[in-house]
C-alpha cells in the first residue's frame, strides 16, 4: 500500500464545505474545494446576522492552532489555506473508482474574464446594456450581465452571466487590463448545421443563432445534411424528425457513424415526441419541442456550446468525497395564489435579510421594497412551503422559526424599537440550545408578538399595505394591516442535487435530499461519498458545522484506512530560516504594470522619494510581479541584494493571493517579513493627491516591516493520546474514531458498563434498534487495542502543562488511583432523564416517565392500555430548566405510534405546548394525527391539573383552547415527558478549565462556529453533555469532536501562531491586569519565579493585554509601540 498524501474532494463551498475543507486541510490532507457559483460562502454570504447571537461570526471557524497556514481575515473576503485548492465555477460530472481511490472528473465553466488580470475596477459593468434582477439580493435590486457575484470577495473578480449576455463587446473594449475576452471569434468558429424541410423554420433558426454569434449552415433534407456533415466540421446539428425522404432518425444514424461525438439536437413537433425520445437512445443529445421558445432554445444551444468549449473534464484522484451543496429555499411564487407573494411588500426571509444588510439594496435601512418608505409593521408567516402535504413537503425546515425571530429582532434594532412585529406560526420550534431563552427574551423584552395561527391569504390594501385575516387564540376573526409581510420560505432540495446524485452515484430520499444512514447521518448511500451540512436536510448553522465535522471524520477515517497518509505538517519554524539575528535590510519592489493602469504613476519619483525617506532601504524596479517571469526576476534581485525584508507595491489582486506564502517558501523568509501595498487603486481611483497617498502607504508599510518580529511561531510538544470522559454512545463513538486513526485513547466511564442513556431506549423513531449499534460500538471499543477502557472510574484531578499535555488522575473501580497523560480531552458525560415531582409523579403507579413507558413497551407491548395520556414539557421550558430538551416530543410520538400499532382502539391524548418534530420527523407527527392521536394544547401558565384518586386513579382536567371549555380525561396511564438534564459535571470544569452554562451544560466557545470546542485549547465536548440531542445527532457531534481533537493529535509538534504576545519581564510589575484582560485565559502568574507566563498555543494575538499594560511590558509580536507610532509618524509626514 504505497503511502501518499491523502486527498479529498469537497463539493460545495458553503459553510459546511468550508468547515470540512478546513478540517481535512488542518489534518494536512490535500483538499479540492469546488463550488458551482463563482464565489465561496454559499448562502451565508447573503446573511449578515445569524441567530442566536444576532451577529456574524464566520471567521471563528478559522483554525486557532497553526493558524499561520490559513488566511487571517474575514471569510467573506475569501479563504486560502496551504492545503486547500479552491475552484469556483466548477462542478463534478462523474465519479468512478472505489472508496479510497476515486477518480473525479471536474468540469469548470469557461471564464470569459481572466481571473489573473481582472482588478475589479468595475469599468466593464457601466456600458453593459443588460439589466436583470440581482439574484444575490433576492431580486430586489438590479444588476448587469457583467457583475460582481458577491460584494466582499477580495480579489474581486467580475463574472459574466453568459445566458443574459448579448455579446455586444462593450465591456471588452473598456477593460483597462484586457481581462475580458468574450471569445466572440471562438463562437463564430462554432458552426451549427440546421436541418429542416420547411424554409421558414430554417430561416428563423438561422437568424436567432447568428444573433447569438454562431455561424450557421442549412440543409433542407437528411441527404444534404449528411453531405455537409462529412464535408466540414460542425459543433452542433439541429435535426428535424419529420422530413420527406430520409427522416431525422435515419439521418442521425448515419451522422452517428460518421462523427460519433458530434452532438445532435432533435427538433420535433408534438406528434413525434416518441420518435424523438427513441432517437435520443441512438445518441441524440436532447430534443426541442416546436414551436420553439427563444430562451429555451438559446439556453440549450449555449449549454451545448459551453460544454464543448469548457475546460474538459480535469480528472483528480481523491480518497474520499464530501458533498456539501446545501439546500435551496422554496420559491413562494411556485405555490399557486397563496400568500400573495406577487404583491409588492411581500418578501421571503432571504429578501428581508438583504433589505437589512449593509451591502443590500436598502443599505441596511428597514424600508419597503415598493416605495422605500420605512416599514414599521411587519408580519412573519411561518411554514410557507413546509409542513404542507399539498406541496408534497411533509417536513419541517427546522430553521425558519428561529430566523423569523431573529429577523423580528433585527427589525426592532434597525428601527430603533419602533417596529411592531408579529410572527404567525403553528408550532414555534425553538429546540436548540438556549433557543427557548432567545424566544422568551424576544417576546418579553423586545415585545415581538407570537400569534398561533396559520394565515393563508394576504390581500393588498391601500398604498402597498397588506391586510391579513386570521383566527386569534380565542377563535375570533381578526383583520390586521401590515406594511411588510415576510414569508418564512421553507427548504427544498437544491436544484443541482439531482445531477450531483447522478454523477456521484448517490440515492436521494423522496423529498429530494441526500438519503443518509439513519444513525450515521454523514454516510450517504454510496461508500466513500459522505454528506455534510444541509444536503441531507436543512439544519441551522451549528448542526451543519457539526455534520460537516462528522463527514470530514468519516472521510479522514476512510482515506487513512486506504493508505492515504496525513503526515504531520512540518512546523513553519523549520521552513523559514530564523533571521532574527541578522541586521534588518529592507527592499522595496515597485511593480510596473504593463496595462494602462501604470500611466497614472511615476515609479521612479516614488522610488527616489522613498530612498530620501530612509536611505537604508534598497529600491528595486520590477516588471509584472504577478507573472512567473516577473516573480523570478524579483527573487533573483532579492537574493543578490541579500535583503531579508520586502515591501512590494503592486495591484489589489496580489494583496490577498497566495503570493506572500509562495514568495516566503521560495525565499525562505517568514511571511511576517513581507508586505504587499496596493499602490494602483488609489492612483487609479478618484480623489486627488494620488502621489502623496501612494507614498504615505509605502512609508507606512516600511515602518511596519521595520518593527516586524521575524521569529516564527514557537512549537510545543503534544502528548498524542486522548482522554474521553463518559462512555455513552457519544464517548464510544469519539473513542473509536480517534483509535481508528492509530492514537491511544483512555475511556473513563463512571458506571460498571458503558452505554449510558441509550441503554434505556429500545429503538429510534425511525425504527432502528439501538441495541445493535450500541452492541457494535461497545464490542468495537473492547476489541480495539488502542483504547483502554476504565469502567466504574472517575476523574479526580488534572493538571495542564506547557504545550498540549495534561496529566489527569482517575480513581478506578477498585479504589486505586491512576495517572493518565494525554494531549486532548473529550467530554461526553451525557445526561439523564430529568426527575420531576409534578403531576402527581410518585404518588401513583400509573404515572410514569417516557423511559419507563418505553421499558414497559419493550417487554409486553401496549396490551391492556386502554387510555394513555402524555404531558410534554414537564419541567422543561420554564424557570428552573428554561430550555427545550428536543427529544421528548419525538419519543412521545414514537411511543404513541407503538401503542396505536399494538392496539388501534387505544385512546392516546398528548398534552403539548409546541410539538418539536423538526426536520423529517414532522412526517411522524402527521402520521400520529392520522392514526387518531388527539393533541391538546396547553400554555405555560394554564397547565393541566392532575388529581390522584383512590387506588391511584388519575384524572386530568384542562381547558381546551379551541372548544373554550374544560375537558376531563381518566387515563389508565399518564406518561410525563420530563426531558433531559445534564449529568453533574462536578469539578471537571475546574480541572480542565471549561465553563458550564446556567443549566449545567458545557459552555462551548461559540454556539454556531465552534460548537464542540471550548475556549480552553485541547478540550472538546459532545453529546448530551453539550445540549440535549437525539442519538444520530450525538453520534455526529462525537465524530465532529473527535475530528477537532485529531487535528491536534495528528501533529508531532503543535505550532503557535507567529503573532502572539510576549512579556518583557524586566518592566513587568505583576499587576496581573493582563491576566484578567485575556479572553482566552492564556496568561498565568508563575508563583515561584514571579513572572507572567503566556501559553502561546492559546494566545490568538488579539493584543488586549498589550493595550491594558501601561508600560507595554506586555507586547504583541509585530505590533509593538515603536512600530505603531512610527507608522503614525509616517502617515502624518506628508501633510
Amino acid at each position: 500500500m504505497e503511502t501518499k498524501t491523502g486527498r479529498a474532494l469537497v463539493i460545495g463551498a458553503g459553510i459546511s464545505g468550508i468547515r470540512s475543507a478546513l478540517d481535512l486541510a488542518e489534518m494536512n490532507y490535500r483538499v479540492y474545494l469546488i463550488d458551482k457559483s463563482p464565489h465561496i460562502g454559499g448562502i451565508l454570504s447573503q446573511l449578515d446576522y445569524q441567530f442566536p447571537t444576532d451577529h456574524c461570526g464566520m471567521c471563528k471557524m478559522l483554525p486557532t492552532i497553526g493558524r499561520d497556514a490559513s488566511s487571517q481575515f474575514c471569510l467573506r473576503k475569501g479563504l486560502f489555506h496551504e492545503n486547500i485548492e479552491v475552484l469556483p465555477g466548477t462542478e463534478m460530472i462523474a465519479l468512478e473508482g472505489e472508496p479510497g481511490n476515486f477518480k473525479a472528473t471536474l468540469d469548470s465553466a469557461p471564464t470569459f474574464i481572466d481571473p489573473e488580470k481582472c482588478i475589479g475596477c468595475g469599468l466593464c459593468s457601466a456600458p453593459c446594456p443588460v439589466s436583470l434582477p440581482d439574484t444575490f439580493n433576492g431580486g430586489l435590486a438590479k444588476r448587469k450581465a457583467v457583475h460582481l457575484p458577491v460584494p466582499h470577495n477580495i480579489p474581486n473578480r467580475y463574472t459574466i452571466d453568459m445566458a443574459a449576455c448579448t455579446r455586444c463587446g462593450e465591456c471588452e473594449k473598456v477593460c483597462p487590463t484586457g481581462a475580458i475576452d468574450l471569445k466572440t471569434e471562438a463562437r463564430r468558429a462554432f458552426k451549427i448545421l440546421v436541418v429542416d424541410d420547411e424554409l421558414v423554420v430554417r430561416d428563423s433558426l438561422k437568424e436567432w443563432l447568428v444573433v447569438e454569434g454562431f455561424s450557421v449552415d442549412m440543409a433542407d433534407s437528411g441527404a444534404e445534411a449528411i453531405d455537409l456533415v462529412s464535408a466540414n466540421e460542425y459543433g452542433l446539428v439541429l435535426l428535424d424528425v419529420k422530413m420527406p425522404g430520409m427522416d431525422g432518425v435515419e439521418a442521425l444514424q448515419i451522422i452517428r457513424e460518421m462523427k460519433p461525438d458530434l452532438p445532435v439536437l432533435m427538433m420535433t413537433a408534438y406528434a413525434t415526441v416518441e420518435t424523438a425520445v427513441q432517437a435520443m437512445k441512438i445518441g441524440a443529445a436532447e430534443y426541442l419541442m416546436k414551436p420553439f421558445d427563444i430562451e429555451a432554445l438559446n439556453a440549450k444551444v449555449v449549454q451545448q456550446y459551453e460544454s464543448t468549449v469548457a475546460v474538459k473534464g480535469r480528472v483528480i484522484e481523491v480518497g474520499a468525497v464530501i458533498m456539501a451543496t446545501g439546500s435551496d429555499f422554496c420559491d413562494p411564487a411556485k405555490i399557486p395564489g397563496a400568500f400573495g407573494y406577487d404583491y409588492p411588500n411581500v418578501v421571503t426571509g432571504l429578501q428581508f435579510e438583504r433589505i437589512v444588510s449593509g451591502s443590500g439594496p436598502g443599505a441596511g435601512k428597514l424600508v419597503r421594497p415598493s416605495d422605500g418608505k420605512p416599514a414599521r409593521k411587519i408580519a412573519f408567516l411561518q411554514c410557507v412551503g413546509s409542513r404542507d402535504l399539498k406541496q408534497k413537503a411533509d417536513y419541517c425546515s427546522s430553521v425558519c422559526c428561529m430566523f423569523s425571530i431573529k429577523e423580528a429582532l433585527l427589525a426592532k434594532a434597525k428601527s430603533g424599537g419602533e417596529a411592531d412585529t408579529a410572527i404567525f406560526y403553528m408550532d414555534m420550534r425553538t429546540f436548540g440550545k438556549d433557543f427557548q431563552r432567545y424566544r422568551d427574551s424576544a417576546e418579553k423584552e423586545s415585545g415581538v408578538r407570537f400569534i398561533r395561527s396559520r394565515i393563508h391569504t394576504v390581500e393588498p390594501d391601500i398604498d402597498g399595505r397588506l391586510s391579513l385575516h386570521y383566527v386569534d387564540g380565542e377563535g375570533a376573526m381578526v383583520e390586521e394591516i401590515f406594511d411588510l409581510v415576510v414569508l418564512a420560505a421553507g427548504q427544498r432540495a437544491s436544484k443541482g442535487a439531482r445531477e450531483l446524485a447522478r454523477s456521484a452515484g448517490v440515492e436521494l430520499n423522496p423529498a429530494g435530499f441526500c438519503r443518509t444512514d439513519e444513525l450515521f447521518q454523514s454516510k450517504s448511500s454510496r461508500e466513500g461519498v459522505f454528506a455534510g451540512g444541509a444536503i441531507s436536510g436543512l439544519k441551522d448553522i451549528s448542526e451543519s458545522v457539526i455534520q460537516a465535522g462528522s463527514a470530514s471524520l468519516e472521510a479522514s477515517r476512510l482515506i487513512r484506512s486506504k493508505g492515504g497518509t496525513s503526515r504531520p505538517p512540518e512546523p513553519k519554524g523549520a521552513l523559514f530560516k530564523d533571521s532574527s539575528r541578522d541586521l534588518p535590510r529592507l527592499a522595496v519592489a515597485l511593480c510596473a504594470c504593463a496595462s494602462s493602469l501604470a500611466g497614472g504613476l511615476d515609479l521612479e519619483a516614488l522610488g527616489a522619494a522613498l530612498s530620501r525617506w530612509d536611505p537604508s532601504i534598497r529600491v528595486l524596479q520590477t516588471e509584472r510581479v504577478c507573472t512567473l517571469a516577473g516573480k523570478k526576476s524579483l527573487l533573483d534581485s532579492l537574493r543578490d541584494t541579500g535583503c531579508n525584508m520586502i515591501s512590494i507595491g503592486a495591484c489589489m489582486p496580489c494583496l490577498y493571493g497566495k503570493m506572500l506564502l509562495d514568495l516566503a517558501r521560495e525565499t525562505g523568509l517568514s511571511p511576517g517579513l513581507m508586505d504587499v501595498v496596493d499602490i494602483y487603486t488609489p492612483a487609479f481611483g478618484r480623489g486627488g493627491q494620488a502621489e502623496a497617498r501612494v507614498q504615505t502607504a509605502m512609508k507606512m508599510s516600511i515602518e511596519r516591516l521595520k518593527g516586524a518580529d521575524p521569529a516564527p511561531g514557537r512549537s510545543f510538544n503534544i502528548i498524542r493520546k486522548a482522554l474521553v470522559i463518559g462512555g455513552g454512545i457519544s464517548g464510544l463513538t469519539a473513542a473509536l474514531a480517534i483509535a481508528d486513526h492509530g492514537f491511544k485513547v483512555d475511556l473513563v466511564e463512571k458506571e460498571a458498563d458503558p452505554g449510558g442513556l441509550v441503554r434505556a431506549i429500545g429503538s429510534t423513531i425511525e425504527g432502528v434498534a439501538t441495541s445493535g449499534v450500541l452492541g457494535r460500538l461497545v464490542s468495537g471499543v473492547r476489541a480495539n487495542s488502542n483504547i483502554s477502557l476504565h469502567t466504574g472510574a472517575e476523574v479526580v484531578g488534572s493538571k495542564a502543562y506547557q504545550g498540549l499535555s495534561f496529566l489527569t488522575t482517575i480513581k478506578t473501580g477498585d479504589g486505586e488511583t491512576k495517572q493518565i497523560d494525554h494531549g486532548v480531552t473529550i467530554l461526553a458525560t451525557g445526561g439523564k432523564e430529568a426527575a420531576t415531582r409534578e403531576y402527581g409523579f410518585g404518588q401513583s403507579g400509573s404515572v410514569v416517565t417516557q423511559h419507563e413507558l418505553e421499558g414497559r413497551l419493550g417487554n409486553g407491548g401496549a396490551v391492556g392500555l386502554g387510555v394513555v395520556a402524555m404531558i410534554q414539557c414537564v419541567g422543561s421550558r420554564e424557570e428552573g430548566r428554561n430550555y427545550c430538551s428536543r427529544i421528548c416530543c419525538q419519543t412521545a410520538l414514537k411511543n404513541a405510534l407503538r401503542i396505536k400499532k399494538d392496539n388501534p382502539e387505544a385512546k392516546v391524548y398528548i398534552f403539548y405546548r409546541d410539538i418539536m418534530t423538526y426536520g423529517f420527523l414532522d412526517a411522524y407527527y402527521t402520521k400520529a394525527r392520522q392514526e387518531g392521536v388527539i393533541f391538546i394544547r396547553y400554555s405555560r401558565d394554564a397547565k393541566p391539573e392532575v388529581t390522584i384518586g383512590e387506588g391511584g386513579k388519575v384524572t386530568i382536567v384542562t381547558r381546551d383552547p379551541i372548544l373554550g371549555r374544560d375537558i376531563a380525561i381518566e387515563p389508565d396511564l399518564l406518561v410525563l415527558g420530563t426531558g433531559l438534564a445534564p449529568n453533574d459535571l462536578g469539578r471537571l470544569g475546574e480541572y480542565f478549565g471549561f465553563e458550564v452554562n446556567e443549566d449545567g451544560f458545557f459552555r462551548e466557545a461559540e454556539y454556531k462556529w465552534q460548537p464542540v470546542d471550548s475556549k480552553k485549547r485541547g478540550v472538546f465536548a459532545c453529546g448530551v453533555a453539550h445540549s440535549p440531542r437525539s442519538i444520530s445527532e450525538s453520534i455526529a457531534m462525537a465524530q465532529a469532536a473527535a475530528q477537532r481533537a485529531l487535528v491536534m493529535l495528528n501533529r508531532d509538534v503543535v505550532e503557535a501562531g507567529s503573532v502572539v504576545a510576549r512579556v518583557r519581564h524586566g518592566l513587568c510589575s505583576l499587576c496581573e491586569r493582563c491576566i484578567s484582560a485575556c479572553p482566552y485565559g492564556a496568561r498565568s502568574r508563575n508563583e515561584e519565579n514571579d513572572r507572567i507566563e503566556i501559553d502561546e498555543l492559546a494566545c490568538q494575538g488579539c493584543g488586549a493585554c498589550a493595550a491594558v499594560c501601561p508600560n507595554s511590558a506586555s507586547v504583541v509580536r509585530g505590533f509593538g509601540d515603536r512600530q505603531v507610532m512610527a507608522m503614525v509618524d509616517a502617515a502624518l509626514e506628508l501633510i
Partner: protein, 140 residues
Amino acid sequence: MGDYEPTIIAFVCNWCTYTAADLAGTSRLVQPANVRMVRMMCTGMVDPKYIIKALLEGADAVLVSGCHPGDCHYINGNLKARRRMKLLKEILPKFGFDERRLKMTWIGASEGIDFAETVRQMTAEVKALGPNDLRTRMVL
C-alpha cells in the same frame, strides 16, 4: 481654509472594519481620500497613547472603528476599546481638543456604505473645525 485637506488617522480592526473598507473600495463608493488606515488585529489593541500620539503629531482627527459588540473575533476586544475611548473623551476635551476629532464607530463586515458615509461625514466635520495646528507647533 478652502484648500486645507484634513488628515484622519484610522485605527481599524483587521476583521470587520477592514473588510468594510475593502468593500467600500471595491464597490467604488465615492469617499474622500483623507483617511490613513493603520490595521490593528483588534480595536482592543489600540493603546490610548497611540491616539494621543496621533493628535499631538498633527492628525486632524482620529477614528477608531471595529466590529459590532458580539462580532469581535476575540470575543470582547471592542468592549474594552469603548471604555478606553470613554476615558480619552473625558480627558482630551479639557485641553481644547474638540470631541469630534476623536470618533469611535462599529462597522460590520458588509457595511461598506456605512464606512464610506462615516469617512465622508467625518471629513466634512473636521474640515469645518479647521486644521489641528499642532502640526507646525514647536513644542511637542
